[in-house]
Structure formats: structure tokens, C-alpha cells
């Protein structure tokens, strides 16, 4: 029931999930994007939360449902059920925390496994290097770009939730990637059957 793509010109509901180590700024990125606010004193997330945001991308109305989870390893069993049905995954690290960068691969693996993605190589990941505002970087832009290139040619954005840099751009790119995949899929479906259809996703059908 999430991520339903309906006739064009109608609003599509896209489910996007933010993943990454604890403290890289997932909630701050979500809040910056949805409410355009930043609160340095925000609590760390316990459990799972989500916010909706309406936007228009290339003339298409989209409602983004952005899911934010607790990043600590321990909470895996409580967070992974929410992966299913995601249309896009924003893998997040913090440029001042090398470990969070090294863990990107694990997050990707965890997502693909639990989201039950059919064609992982085609799934739209977007990589965010947050905390651009922090002076002491541990991860260089080049390193990050190289990782993105080697791991599936993912778009990479350096963001600052604090200073509102690149956050909206990154989400819009995520939406474009999802819609682009839709377009491609549409071509494979005989036109007379396309009135209402689910995007290729796994929440409802798990053994196709």
C-alpha cells in the first residue's frame, strides 16, 4: 500500500529510506528537507519515524514518505522490517567520521537483503556525505566519489543539514532516479493494461 504509482499526473507516493550509522545526521537531513529547520539539540532517534513531503519533479506530483531509523547495530531486527517496499534508499555517512563511510557497504548489503530487492544492481541508491559544515573532514570528496562509482555508479551529494546545503537537491535526484526506472518499466508493459499498476516492488508479492 506504500509506494503506489498511479496514472501519470496523479500523485505518486514514493517511499524513501534513510540509512547510515548512528549520529551521521539522518534525522537532521529529514527535518531540514521537510520542515526546513535544523535543531542541533534534536534527540537521537529511537525506533522508527517518518515524515511526508509533497513535491513536483519534472512536472510530476510526488509525495515522498521519508523513513528515518535508529542507526545502531543492535536495533537491526526492529528497523529492517520497514525496508520493504522502499522505492529508494539514501545511504548516509558523515564526512567527519571515517567509520561511518567505511560502513556504507554494510548498510547497502543490509538494505538489499531485508528490502528483498529483486535486481539490486538496478535499485536506486543515492549517497549522502553529511556534515559538510564541519571543518575537520575525515573523508575526502574524491574517496567518496570513487566509492560511489565503484559500487554501482550512484549519485553522490555532500550535504549539510545544518547549513541547508544540497539537501533538497539530493532528494529530488532520488525522485528522478525512481521515476526514471518507472519509465523504463512502463515500456515493457503493453500499453492497454496500464491504468493502475504497482511499480515493481516487493512488499506485496514476494515470490514472483
Amino acid at each position: 500500500f506504500l509506494g503506489i504509482h498511479m496514472e501519470k499526473k496523479k500523485t505518486s507516493l514514493l517511499k524513501v529510506i534513510l540509512l547510515g550509522d548512528g549520529g551521521v545526521g539522518k534525522s537532521s537531513i529529514m527535518n531540514r528537507y521537510v520542515t526546513n529547520k535544523f535543531d542541533a539539540q534534536l534527540f537521537h532517534t529511537i525506533g522508527v519515524e517518518f515524515l511526508n513531503k509533497d513535491l513536483e519533479v519534472d512536472g510530476r506530483q510526488v509525495t515522498l514518505q521519508i523513513w528515518d531509523t535508529a542507526g545502531q547495530e543492535r536495533f537491526r531486527s526492529l528497523r529492517t522490517p520497514f525496508y520493504r517496499g522502499s522505492d529508494c534508499c539514501l545511504l548516509t555517512f558523515s564526512v567527519d567520521d571515517n567509520q561511518s563511510f567505511l560502513n556504507l557497504g554494510n548498510w547497502k548489503k543490509e538494505f538489499i537483503y531485508y528490502a528483498d530487492v529483486k535486481e539490486p544492481e538496478k535499485f536506486p541508491f543515492v549517497i549522502l556525505g553529511n556534515k559538510l559544515d564541519v571543518v575537520e573532514r575525515q573523508v575526502s570528496t574524491e574517496e567518496a566519489q570513487q566509492w560511489c562509482q565503484e559500487n554501482g555508479d550512484y549519485p553522490y551529494y555532500e550535504t549539510s543539514a545544518k547549513d541547508a546545503i544540497n539537501v533538497a537537491v539530493a532528494f529530488e535526484e532520488a525522485v528522478r532516479r525512481v521515476l526514471a526506472i518507472d519509465e523504463r518499466t512502463d515500456h515493457f508493459i503493453p500499453t492497454d493494461t496500464v491504468k493502475l499498476h504497482r511499480k515493481p516492488r516487493s512488499a506485496a508479492t514476494c515470490c514472483s
Partner: protein, 668 residues
Amino acid sequence: MSSSEQTVDNMAAGSVHKVIFEHQGVFIQLSSDEEAIEQDLLISGSLQVIDKDGEILVEYRPLEDTVDLSNILCAGKDSSSVMGCTQGPGDRSHQLLETQQSYETEWDMVNAVSFKKRPCTNGEGSLNHSHERSRWAFTFSVSDLRSITVKEEGWAFLICKLKDSSTPLPVLHFHQGGSREFLDSLRRFALLTECPDDGTCLLVSTPNKALSQSFENLLDDNSFGLVHKFRKDPYVTTLGGFSKVTNYIFDALRGTEEQHQRPPEEVADLLGEVIPGLEINQQEEPGFEVITRIDLGARPQVMRREPLSAEDWTKHQDPEGRMVNVSHLKQVIFKGGLCHAVRKEAWKFLLGCFPWDSTLEERKALQRTKTDEYFRMKLQWKSVSEEQERRNSRLRDYRSLIEKDVNRTDRTNRFYEGIDNPSLVLLHDILMTYCMFDFDLGYVQGMSDLLSPILYVMENEVDAFWCFVSFMDQMHQNFEEQMQGMKTQLIQLSTLLRLLDLAFWNYLEAQDSGYLYFCFRWLLIRFKRELSFHDVLRLWEVMWTGLPCHNFHLLVCCAILDSEKQKIMEENYGFSEILKHINELSMKLDIEEILQKAEGICLQIRSCKDLPHSVSAILGFGTEVSGSNPTDCESAAAPRATQQQDACSNRHLRETSSHNSCKVAFRL
């Protein structure tokens, strides 16, 4: 092709088996009129509960036949492709089985009964031919089951009766234990309620998925499966999944396109079948709910009282400083909490850092040893060099996360606000020292939330640490690797909610929310994020009295849900909207109102005569008199030895509750 059609194809084409339960050494007795020669011929076999394309079957196979079946079992266990279809990432059921088996020790009594298996020699003829043996195999669907009668004669045996009473089933003898596990596995799919006239007889109603709903499969779209079942067997499906169907129909009528892409004729068919049901649901016709409905009677109105004053606290102390009339004192604290000035001292008693009957002198001595002990542990992490830390990834990870979280805990509270606030250093140091105290657990997110109010009240590093240690003793399981504490609490809460409000529980079930995931944050950190800081202090001290029952915090959950259910049901909230609604209650709740309601619910349940044992076990009813000896605390580490029983109540309850649920099956 739409994906819902794909589901149809797959359901029709592929057949999916999943073994949910298996137990060898279950015997059936051939009745004498059938087998006149061997009057008490016993056949040993294996009993399984199988999920076959969503239908839950109980299957009994005599010994030799079990070879084939064990192959199926292996396939089911090892290959996620076999079981993946309905369950998603698939080790959940094994984990469940493992937890069930961990109760096995309690069954020593049953297992110890010596039983000599009748040798099956060639001379006995007929039973050795496989087709003859398989004569005694049988299978039935749990949904066809009317009742199970539980008897015990040194071993347990179960008499299963089908709804169609013309086919009697052989009695199942569990000479090698396992009957309770078998019943537990059925409870995952069916509601077993004691027959009012006969306590040994459990009535079966299906389906009932909530208690078994694992986190892994909570997003599985099973509404189709339900509709499918409903069409096959509307009566049985209606019992448990009724609101699921009505909800589906409501959606269909409202024309929310997102949810369903079914052919119009199918929807029409379905409407035809369901509309009488709609009436029944709205009028709550007793015929449909008689099995699970227990009349709880009216909820008593209770009043809250004023907080305990400093003067009253002092009045409860004798000249040497021992607390006197402790049960009255606890009662007063339960009814009104503490005024802030008393908290610093009283919390140490409530949390069990100080024994109630200790003298002032004894406490001073205790304080000295505790202070030494604290700083010894603090020195341990303080003296780790950078070099060492580089080679200690766990310590590094704990430290890194503690540093991050300390800066994200209660920062709007004056006690923690601003840059370079010394309280933040204390918060950090206490959490780091706790890692040394319990390195296996280390630091888990949520712990800073539990510490923050304690440090705020204690205003002292050492006292705050030991109070935190005591509180963590109660909360430990919530944070452990498998989060067993969380799972247990969610199941217990579900049990309570079903008793209190079946209609709401059914609604949540229908929204795939029956496992109550949205209460996760409430339970993990005891409402710390839901209430204002001062209300948290109030709630916690009330809870720490251990009154008026075990697991009072679960009734607090029920009280809040009771206030929200109307909104949730009227707005027809779905899975994610429920989660959002509950998340957004944060800081909007009134603690005195909630406590009042929760206490009322406790009295209401307590006055109920036919309370299911599962519920009395959760709330500790009936164990207060005999079962209050806190010997279960023995396993606690040395610093915890000073704890009083209420600090141990959770651990204690876990023990008693497993004993109690054991009684459910084998009381007689």
C-alpha cells in the same frame, strides 16, 4: 500484469510448506476395539505443525514415515527459497522454537517418567508395512479444530476434537514431553481459551496471528490471503480476522485505489459475502465473539493523591534511620509520587540501592564501598591509552556513540543545556563506566535517556551511577542483542489489549499492527520520550513502587491506547498512520490522567473472576503471597545483591510467568 494477479498465480502454482513445530516421540494408542489383539498397542511418531500455503495443519506420522518428513523439515529450515514466500527473511520461526525449547528444563518432571517403548518386531506384523503404518497417520487443519482437552497422568496427553465430530482423532500421548511446546505453537495461529465448564478443555478459534507476528514479516501484505481464506471458510475466518475483512471492504467502498487492484467481479462477490458480516461486526453479535470475550465489568474510578512530602518521608524513619511501615509508604508514593525534595533520597530505596531496613550508619558504609567501586571502574576506561583503544573496536564504538548521544539527550532541559555543560561530562562518564560494569551490554541507544532523569535527581555522579545500575537491572533485557525483553513485552501487551478491547485489537490486527510495533519507544525507555521531563520523574517513581501489580507499565500503555483508539478507528488509520499518530503523541500526554486510568484498568482486571491465566501471569495476580521471595535475584552480580525485590520484579516475574503459563496447560 498487476502484481496482485501474480500473487494469485503463485499461490495456485507453487506450494509452500513450512514446518513450525516438530516433536518426535508422540504416541498414539490404538483403541482396543480396533486392534483387539494388541490391546494397548502404542505407536510412536512425529507430530508437526505445518504452514502449507498459509493453512496451518497438524500432521501426525508414525515413526518410519517420519524419515521423509524430516527431509521436508530440512528443506524448510535451510532453504529460504522454500519458506521465503510467506515469511520473508526466514529464521524467525526457528528462533521462536528455540525459545520454546529453552523452557525444556521445566519439563524434566514429565520427561523423567520412564516409558518403555514397545519394540516393533516383525512378529507384530501389520505395522511394519509402510502402507499399514501410514494408516495411522493423520492430518487436520487447525481451523477445523474445535477443542483440545489436556490431561496428565505422569505424562501429558491431548485429546483433539474436530468441529466435525464424526471423525474422532487418536489421543496424542507426549511421553517425551513437548505438549506444551505443541500448544504454544498452535497459539501462534489460534486462540486457545479455557472452556468455562471444564478447565482442562481448551476451545480453539482461528485465525490469530498477532502474537506470532514476527518483526520480519510485519509488512507482508496478507490481506489477499485473508480474503482467500474468507471465501473458503467465512465462518472461521470471521472469528479472528473479521475487522481485516471489514476494513478491506470499507476501503473498497471508499474507493481508495492504492490499496487494491482486484477485478470488479471479485470485489462484488466479496461484498456479497461480507455485508451480513458488517452488520454483525457493528452490532457485535455475541455469537461471533463468545469465545474470546470476557466480561470485565465496569472500570472503577480512582483518584490520585498529593505527592509525599519531605515531612511525611521523615515520619517513616526510625531514630536509626530505618524506614518503617514501608508498604504504606509505597502505597502513598504509588498514589501521588514524591515531592521533588524527597526524590534524591527516596529513589535510592525505590530502586533498591539502599535496603529499606538499613540504618543510616549502614548506608554510610555502603556509600563508601560503592564510591570506591565506582571510581575503580571509572579509572579502567580513563586509563586506556589511545594505542589500546585503537585495538579495541568495541570500546571505541561505545565511546563514539556515547559522545554523540550525550550531545543529543535532553539538551533543552536547563540541567543539560548549553555548550560545555558539566552535566554532559557526568552523563558521558557514567555511561562509559557502565560499559566497564557491563561490557557485554556496553552502550545501547536509549540508555542515555534512562540515565538523564536519574542524574538530574541525584546531582551526584556516584549515586546516579548506582541508581542507573539498578534501573538497568530492570531494563536490561530491552537492550540485549536479541531484544528479547522488547519482544516479550510486546506480546504481553498484546495479550492484555486483547482482553481489554477485542474490537480495537482486531482493528490493529487488520492494519498489520497487531504486534504493536508503534509502542516500541514507549517500552524501550519507559515513556521517557513521550512525557515531559517532570512527568517522567513522576511515572518512574510510581512504577518503582512495584504497585499495584507486576508490569504496571503495560497497563499504562493500555490506558494511553484506550484514549487514542477512537481517533485511530474513526479516522481509519492504516499501518503507517497509526505509527505516526502514536509517535506524535509525544509531549501531549497527561501523566496523572494516564496513571488514574491505568490503575482503574488494574482494578477492573483484578476483579474479573474468569481471568485467563496468561493475563494473571503477566500482572502477577495470585503470585503476590506465595511467590514473593526474591531468590531469582541470586544470579545478579555482586553490586546488585543489595537490591530489594521490587527492583527485581521484572526478572522475578519472568520466572513466575513461565511457571504460570505452564499451569495453563497442565493445571490439573
